[in-house]
């Protein structure tokens, strides 16, 4: 099993962290993982994104050209990456910021109001964790416990107090994806 994801959004939406936490979780489970960010000045203002692969086999290209999953946290990201999805691939849309419908009909789509759900648990900024919850619910590449473990590693000590909130956000995302 090998899953290739592209996670994309505005600069401040925490999409890089999402990818890192996901890859870290895979690593805890002994899987092969890779994480490759977009980088450089184009990040400014534009979209940031990362390519994540979690796999049970050797990973060839860390560069994902036909993802199994695209997570679009904003509209430009959907416009840019939805066309790259594999046939039958999964598009996770942050419906809080995207009200356009994707054009492709050969893919699966789920809409998560990530910002709203995050606000409900107490912080607009946790929208990325909501989306991450949706990913692991739908794609089943890693366990939620691994995600939480990985989150601890990835957050600096001083932010560890936010972990419960993030856990909550994760769960909301999972629930929302289940519905």
């Amino acid at each position: 099993m090998m899953k290739e994801l592209i996670i994309a959004g505005f600069g401040g939406q925490g999409v890089m962290l999402m990818g890192q936490v996901l890859a870290g979780a895979g690593m805890f489970e002994g899987k092969e993982v890779s994480w490759l960010p977009s980088y450089g000045p184009e990040m400014r203002g534009g979209t940031a994104n990362c390519h994540v692969i979690v796999s049970e086999e050797r990973i060839g290209s860390p560069f994902v050209s036909s993802p199994d999953v695209v997570v679009a946290m904003n509209l430009p990201s959907m416009d840019k990456f939805a066309p790259q999805l594999k046939e039958g691939g999964l598009l996770i849309i942050n419906s809080s910021l995207i009200d356009t419908e994707p054009e492709r009909k050969d893919i699966r789509v789920i809409k998560i109001p990530a910002n709203e759900l995050a606000a409900e648990v107490g912080s607009d900024r946790a929208a990325n964790m909501v989306a991450l919850g949706a990913i692991i619910e739908k794609v089943k590449i890693v366990e939620v416990d691994s995600i939480i473990e990985s989150l601890k590693e990835n957050l600096p000590e001083r932010h560890h107090k936010l972990i419960p909130l993030n856990e909550e956000a994760l769960k909301r995302g999972m629930e929302a994806a289940r519905d």
């Binding site: 000045p41 184009e42 400014r44 203002g45």
Partner: protein
């Protein structure tokens, strides 16, 4: 109704890639206004640096050359020697001008190269994500001075205008700040004077603009302006350091 203030002709009608609140945008506009007012757009050749302003050629509506990191004064020298009747200006950041490009700016000033340099001192490397610049303040944290700039190992910030003031053929040297409207007006005047110095063939001119990098300073744009005023201005005193006296040639 009459438009009293709008995008100058010398700027393209194009959004920039600069971060919100970054003063690069203000400086672009000031330079463009001066070019318009002097009516020299079609005779002006800009030299874009390597730095956040690397894409300056996308925003100014005049001929441009993109220069290797730090080498804008050398590139400008090449252009000006071929086209002495044209206006040539470089637009350079503090990493570009005061670090890798030290030799080039010093020697352009020494030669009294008849060009104008717009020098953006934002105390950091913006483009590459916030490394220490030679102009970074003591104690300032950057990705390559994570514990704050330490004078013992990294030295004390370089004052470019003061250094260049030792050259007799550096004709116009001024430092201005962009932290409020009054100072922005002064900045424009200084830029105008610098271009006028070039027009009169009086030698090298440079305006240092104390600028911001909200993104890499980790501040919002307004805080950044305040930081310029409270932290940078005391170390980098504002004013005209050299003005051309007399005529055509000194």
């Amino acid at each position: 109704m009459k438009v009293v203030a709008k995008r100058p002709r010398a700027l393209m009608d194009k959004p920039t890639h600069y971060c919100p609140g970054c003063t690069h945008g203000i400086t672009h506009r000031l330079v463009a206004e001066v070019i318009d007012e002097m009516d020299i757009r079609e005779k002006t050749i800009g030299v874009a640096p390597v730095g956040c302003a690397v894409l300056a050629y996308e925003y100014f509506d005049c001929d441009f050359q993109q220069a290797a990191h730090g080498r804008a004064p050398a590139v400008a020298t090449g252009i000006k020697r071929v086209l002495p009747e044209n206006f040539v200006f470089t637009y350079q950041g503090d990493g570009d001008l005061a670090s890798i490009g030290t030799a080039e700016i010093v020697h352009a000033a020494m030669r009294g190269e008849n060009i104008t340099t717009i020098f953006i001192n934002n105390a950091i490397y913006g483009m590459t994500g916030g490394q220490m610049a030679p102009t970074t303040m003591i104690g300032q944290k950057t990705t390559t001075s994570p514990y704050g700039r330490d004078s013992k190992s990294a030295g004390e910030p370089i004052r470019v205008v003061e250094m260049l003031s030792t050259f007799s053929r550096a004709a116009y040297l001024a430092r201005v700040g962009l932290f409020n409207n009054k100072e922005i007006k002064k900045a424009k005047k200084a830029i105008r004077k610098a271009f006028e110095t070039q027009k009169a063939g009086q030698g090298f001119s440079l305006v240092e603009l104390l600028s911001t990098c909200p993104t890499n300073w980790g501040m919002n744009p307004a805080e950044a302006l305040d930081w310029v005023e409270s932290n940078m201005v005391p170390y980098y005193p504002l004013g005209e350091y050299k003005t051309p006296e007399g005529g055509e040639d000194r």
